[in-house]
Amino acid sequence: MTALTGLSTLSALTAQSGAVSIDALRLLPALAPALGALLVLLVDALAPRRTLPHLVVGALALLMGAAGAMPGALSPAREPVLTLCLPGGPDGACLWSAGPLDSTLQIGLLAASLAALLLLSDQWRDLPGDRAVDVALILASAAGGAAVVAARELGTWLVALELATLPVIALVVLRGTRRAAHGGLTLMMTSLLSFAVLVVGTGLWVMATGDASLSGTAIRTAWAQPDQRAVLVVAILTLFVGLGFKLSLVPFHAWTPPTFVSGPLPISALLATASKLAAVGALLALIAPFAGLADPHPHALAFVVGALAIGSMLVGTVVAFRATDLVRLLAWSTIAQAGWVVLPLAALTTVGHRASVAYALTYAAAGLVAFAVATAVRTAGGEPGSERGLAAYRGLARSHPHVGGPLILALLTLAGLPPAILGLVAKVVAIRPLLAAGLWPLAVLAVIAVVLGIAVYVRWIAVLLAAPEHRTTAASGNNAGTGVEVQVGPGALAVLSLGTALLVVASVVPQVLYGLLS
């Protein structure tokens, strides 16, 4: 149903403006998952209670979307992919404009959705629920994410953003457990609040610019008028707060840990990666036109962005340091990493935008690997949740190096420590625009956060590398003593191997990733 909403939005736009040019191929990143969602429901109607066809259709739709975004990401001319253009609009305004950064983000979030889908498919055997609905919801969310990144009109932007979020609530709740209901409720309340804030922000924006398009011209015109400028500042700040929920920036982060812990892990992975990438794209669409503004410089925006970024980094890191549960660690680390993603945007330069996207993609890759490991580790007996505890991971790198090794690599990437050069480069790239813009205090605070972050991740790495606790007593069985068993399903195996390969390759030649973005 949500997929239908997305489609109807597109068709409604067409109906409104009559002569809008539509290039379906260019819309593929959003169109392919949306159509895929429909197709899955159709397949389910024809062949109910099958799993493989659903998985194949879902994966193909996501891959097709990613392939559709490839030309935009790799185009040598660095020109945006434009479609849905209004014939007589100001500067040929197009409602869909995916520049190289946006296209890269689309590829990233579609790939992350695919990874979440693969992880989820491993759990279908154990968990109740309707597979077709699972796949359709993930695809709908991916379609929304791909659309919001490229949307250049506030209406579409708002609807696409909600389309990216709402299916995830359903995915959290569908498990039907009490904990899941709690997490889903938290997430829904948050979404409602943020939607309200976003709607207010949208209203203020239209009031300030007199235009629902996110074009640079309208903003520059509004910025020149002191009265309109004041409204515009409040509008962008309100919208930023609304997105702060989605990005889980402090102080709008409170929903993150309970939701991550209560929902199924693949959905937490989806929330932590694909949803974040979509939110980053949404934020970029808003904030990009502010890059060239001077006289007066939008100090208030830079200040708020920087303050929330630093707050998230510090709070997230400090609490992550206390976490004794891998998923809780990842939740708090998501909050800290969201700060890192937003931090370079405070510079309000195009270099800052690139750095932000690069960091977001790096974080998503490492996060997916970590989540994939979390789905593979089980404990026999013990309290619920003990499989995510520090004790279960003791010595994992020794007893199961094929799982512990990638986790160490992922944590090193998040910490920014060699040999995960990728993470280090991402952090350097994120700090550099701040220095160029003269924002020294932010850079200093960021460095402090790096130091604290190392303690957070190295603590876990030390546990992973430690000698397994009960090795001597459990002479009979290799893992009987610890009660930990590692089951890497086919989906998790794919995510683990591809993600690890990506991290390793990108650590050896980080310039390739950054070459794509420059």
Binding site: V233, T238, F240, V241
Partner: protein, 650 residues
């Protein structure tokens, strides 16, 4: 391309041997065959190489401020050195199949030897300081493994540690020197480095043109410190005799062709810069002069013949290096310009690092021969002390003849390879002496060393051939040989050593005819001075006569050292001096550690406590995870953010 092939194939042999170490048969076939192939390859390359050439094999690395071309290169002298390295390595590999037949860690030994050889090839052919450094470090590491091969022995472990620590200490200088040379020109390529640093500094009334002489001297002295460490020169000399704790083939490799000779190759590569650095040449000249005489003296008084050979290596390497210190300075003549003042005309112009490399070549041949021969004699006698070896040569004619040929060459008797090369060094030093610099000092030291070398060589032969009075009392049996003797006599029989015999014969023949290198013009040397040859022969006669005179009533070495044998065996107390030097350093380290843990760590711990506290407080605030808490946070955040916006607007 053969240079690249040598390095890569040798390293690959090492890795493959290590991977197949469970199948001893494979290792026993692969290691000798592979190293033999490399020797043939290097021999072909030596005969084929004409003009110097550069090989680019890796993509160069540009680090912004520093450019690493990562080139290799070869030339006639380098190809010749490469051949002798390959030859000695092959000899050692083949010999070890017999010598370490019953050693359960033989495959690891063979792999280490192959890796060691690869590192030496890299140093020889490197045209990039970074690659030189890589080879240099790998050699240091491999020598540690080889010396400590019998790691169950406390003395072997200590010797390995000592070698590692002493050379590591000296390597500090080497690394700093390399960094200095490279960063000053922004490239690690020899060509670029030499283009700047080989430029003569010319001063006149208006100031100086050319590179800063102080910096040049500083960097080269630092490199020389590293070379002195690796080549066991004063003041780092004492690790090498202790390294005799390793298996004899390892000693042959370390002494003859690789580790200790590497410094000569590196300095020869940097010679154009060294020639312009007066202070550095003096440092090198003084150190090598002292070393060659001191080591020759110590060699004379050793109670263990293997240690005698070790000290002779120290002395002979000093001779090689002294040729670099004392060589005459050649100013390149542009066509049409008059020859520079103070340079003797004639073919001597081209003498430069050739003599040093030629002596390296000849030393590699005869020293590997000597070590492998004494390995055989030691097995027969059950140990390598003079007392045990007495008369051992009478039981194996091959061993005795091989040892004799090696000793003749070591003493520098004309017409064997050692004679030719020592003549070249003396000739070089004489040419250099006429120019000032350390030439005269080196020349004097060389002449004294010739006498001493002849005398300890004679002594060694007298001992093994039992030409001395057998009724003389047995003095100073080395106690450290006890365990070794037992193991040897139990596990090794002198029979079934066909391969070892073949190796000895080959090396002996090459030692006899190795002087052909002059005829092949491998080292750019032109003839020898007959006057100096005559003087040398006289000096050798004096030395040999001295040994015979002392030897009439027992081991001449024992007579020479008298009651001070223990002092000689201990290298004149160098080990004690090292310990004394280490003591204040250890104390200083304790103080630094105290400041670090008690003062500096205080701040770190403070930061940790703060972070932990912050974490606890924030975590408590989130513990309930209630919607209401989140809601309040949101409201406060929204109000704060909007307040910023509103106030900014006003």
């Amino acid at each position: 391309m053969s240079a690249l092939l040598l390095i890569v194939v040798s390293a690959v042999i090492g890795v493959v041997v290590l991977l197949t170490r469970r199948w001893a048969v494979v290792v026993r076939a692969l290691a000798p065959a592979g190293s033999g192939f490399l020797a043939l390859l290097a021999g072909g390359a030596m005969l084929r190489t004409q003009a110097p050439e550069t090989i680019s094999w890796l993509p160069s690395i540009d680090l912004g401020g520093l450019f690493l071309p990562l080139d290799l290169g070869t030339s006639r002298p380098l190809a010749a050195i490469s051949f002798v390295v390959a030859l000695v390595s092959a000899a050692v590999q083949i010999y070890s199949t017999w010598y370490l037949r019953d050693d359960e860690r033989y495959p690891v030994f063979a792999a280490t030897v192959a890796l060691f050889t690869a590192a030496m090839f890299l140093v020889v052919h490197s045209r990039d300081l970074a690659l030189t450094l890589v080879g240099w470090e790998v050699m240091g590491w491999c020598s540690y493994l080889l010396i400590g091969h019998w790691s169950r022995k406390e003395s072997a472990r200590r010797a390995a540690h000592k070698a590692f620590l002493v050379t590591r200490l000296a390597d500090v200088g080497f690394v700093l020197g390399v960094v200095g040379l490279a960063t000053s020109v922004g490239s690690t390529g020899y060509a670029v480095v030499l283009r700047l640093w080989a430029e003569p500094t010319v001063c006149d009334a208006y100031g100086c043109v050319g590179p800063n002489p102080v910096l040049r001297n500083t960097f080269l002295v630092l490199i020389i410190v590293g070379v002195l460490g690796k080549s066991a020169q004063v003041p780092f000399q004492d690790w090498l005799p202790d390294a005799m704790e390793g298996p004899t083939p390892a000693s042959a490799l370390i002494h003859a062709a690789t580790m200790v000779a590497a410094g000569t190759v590196v300095l020869a590569g940097l010679y154009p810069a060294l020639a312009q650095a007066e202070v550095a040449r003096w440092v090198l000249g003084i150190a090598t002069s002292v070393t060659m005489v001191l080591a020759a003296l110590l060699a004379m008084g050793q109670s263990d013949l293997k240690r005698l050979l070790a000290w002779s290596t120290v002395s002979q390497v000093a001779i090689m290096l002294s040729a670099l210190a004392a060589a005459p300075v050649i100013l390149e003549q542009q066509p049409g310009e008059p020859p520079a003042v103070g340079v003797p005309p004639g073919p001597a112009l081209a003498i430069v690092p050739g003599a040093a490399l030629f002596h390296l070549w000849s030393h590699a041949l005869f020293k590997s021969l000597l070590f492998l021969a004494i390995g055989l004699l030691g097995v027969i006698a059950g140990g390598t002390t003079a007392a045990l070896l007495r008369g051992a040569g009478m039981r194996t004619r091959l061993g005795r003849s091989a040892f004799l040929i090696g000793l003749l060459s070591l003493a520098g008797v004309p017409l064997v390879v050692g004679g030719f090369s020592k003549e070249s060094v003396i000739d070089t030093a004489y040419q250099g002496a006429s120019q000032g610099g350390p030439g005269l000092l080196v020349l004097l030291a060389l002449l004294v060393t010739v006498v001493l070398t002849a005398s300890y060589s004679t002594r060694a032969y007298l001992v093994i051939a039992e030409l001395i009075d057998v009724t003389a009392p047995v003095e100073a049996v080395g106690e450290m040989s006890e365990s070794r003797r037992q193991r040897r006599s139990e596990s090794l029989d002198p029979d079934g050593r066909g391969a070892a015999n073949a190796v000895l014969v080959t090396l002996a023949v090459l030692t006899l005819i190795g002087g052909l290198a002059l005829a092949l013009d491998l080292f750019d040397l032109h003839g020898l001075s007959w006057v100096w040859t005559l003087i040398t022969v006289l000096l050798i006669g004096v030395g040999a006569g001295l040994a015979f005179a002392l030897g009439r009533a027992g081991d001449p070495g024992v007579r020479f050292a008298g009651r001070r044998v223990a002092l000689f065996d201990g290298g004149f107390g160098a080990d004690t001096a090292y310990r004394a030097l280490a003591k204040p350093v250890v104390h200083l380290a304790r103080i630094v550690a105290f400041v670090d843990t008690e003062v500096i760590d205080g701040y770190v711990r403070g930061a940790a406590v703060t972070a932990r506290l912050g974490g606890a407080v924030t975590e408590r605030a989130h513990r309930a995870e209630r919607l209401r808490t989140g809601g309040w946070l949101v409201v406060l955040g929204l109000v704060a953010v909007l307040a910023v916006g509103v106030f900014a607007w006003r």
